[in-house]
């Protein structure tokens, strides 16, 4: 029984299953064309690990260049807002990290990924992949978000989804192409933005 049974199982597993008609294949290509319209697949040969992750759709809403702490604090969760107001500090993720001053802006990032288990932002402001900042998921809207304190100047960034997929932000104001051919989301902060 043993040898016959194993051969029988192997043959059965090698047999095709009735799945994958023309309609199913068309559905795949429809999704592929949609992804292509969004810029996939992106060429990224020869880049470090955090720039060689698979891309996905992300979003960012920017509240940069806001003038005063009272306005800024409206974007923060209660406890963080209180801490920020009391200490004159700003928040990155869940951590109070610094003192707000004229050249420090608060930026709120948002990301639409209902199936993601973890979302982080990596940029020149946090060492890229060395210390990505986690986004927090809103259980009702399924939006991921984080509020960052960034110094004036230009910042390049991307999101890291489920620790594997790296993507620029399609909703960013601007994007730049690096010498390697990849697209980076670009954020410019200055007093003029107030």
């Amino acid at each position: 029984m043993s040898e016959f049974f194993e051969r029988r199982v192997a043959r059965a597993l090698r047999s095709d299953v009735p799945l994958g008609d023309e309609l199913a294949r068309r559905r795949v290509m429809e999704r592929v064309r949609h992804a292509a319209a969004e810029g996939h697949p992106v060429r990224r040969r020869g880049e470090p690990w955090y720039r060689r992750q698979r891309h996905s759709i992300v979003g960012l809403t920017l509240a940069a260049g806001i003038g005063g702490l009272s306005t800024l604090s409206a974007a923060l969760p209660g406890a963080q807002r209180d801490a920020g107001a009391r200490l004159g500090a700003v928040v990155i993720g869940d951590t109070v990290v610094g003192t707000l001053h004229d050249t420090l802006r608060l930026v709120r990032l948002m990301f639409d990924a209902p199936d993601a288990q973890r979302v982080e932002v990596a940029g020149d402001f946090n060492g890229w992949g060395a210390s990505p900042t986690p986004l927090v998921r809103d259980e009702r809207s399924h939006h991921w978000s984080v509020t960052l304190a960034l110094h004036d100047g230009e910042h390049r960034y991307a999101f890291v989804v489920d620790e594997t997929r790296w993507t620029p932000d399609p909703r960013a104001d601007r994007a730049v192409q690096g010498g390697d051919g990849r697209i980076y989301s670009l954020l410019s902060l200055s007093r003029a933005a107030n």
Partner: protein, 177 residues
């Protein structure tokens, strides 16, 4: 045209060339996905997601690995995601008695599809089911299976052996097998 040549064509901007990849690999992906996730609906979802992820990550594919093995790795991850999300399979197959299934097949002529086997596969622990499906539905080497699953080769061999033993145990009272 080889998979590699098609991929270069896609990366050069010919998105429609990816349809050749889909046509070429869909049946193989279906063999794997249906037997890992246990039903066609979830299998199709996993396959679609796998092809889409493969397309998006096409530039990550490296020549030192067979494209089919690379695609299978993505597919297995999608199957795991689907399985984690779905509890349906537990309800569907939990109460099946193997003795009630029709295993009366001609010993010499028995080849090809074996629907009852798929039901029995569903009674295996997920790791054993995944291992035996990859080994035989995709004709992978244990080295390739190791890269796909993240498990060691010796562990995978053990899982396949145990999968056979478990299937035999399930069928021990069934005649003509």
């Amino acid at each position: 045209m080889s998979d590699r040549a098609i991929i270069q064509q896609v990366l050069a901007g010919d998105v429609e060339a990816f349809a050749q990849i889909v046509d070429r690999h869909y049946a193989r992906c279906a063999r794997i996905a249906v037997r890992i996730v246990g039903n066609r609906e979830d299998a199709e979802e996993a396959i679609q997601d796998a092809f889409l992820r493969a397309f998006k990550a096409l530039d990550d594919y490296e020549d030192r690995e067979r494209f089919s093995a690379w695609l299978t790795r993505i597919l297995v991850n999608q199957c795991r995601t689907v399985l984690a999300r779905s509890k349906r399979r537990d309800a569907v197959f939990l109460d099946l008695d193997p003795r009630q299934l029709d295993f009366a097949v001609d010993a010499e002529e028995s080849e090809g599809p074996w629907p009852e086997l798929d039901r029995m596969l569903d009674r295996l622990p997920a790791e054993q089911r995944e291992a035996i499906v990859l080994k035989y539905a995709d004709d992978l080497t244990y080295q390739e299976m190791s890269r796909i699953t993240g498990a060691g080769e010796s562990a995978l061999k053990m899982r396949v052996q145990r999968a056979f033993a478990r299937l035999r145990a399930l069928l021990q009272e069934v005649p003509n097998v």
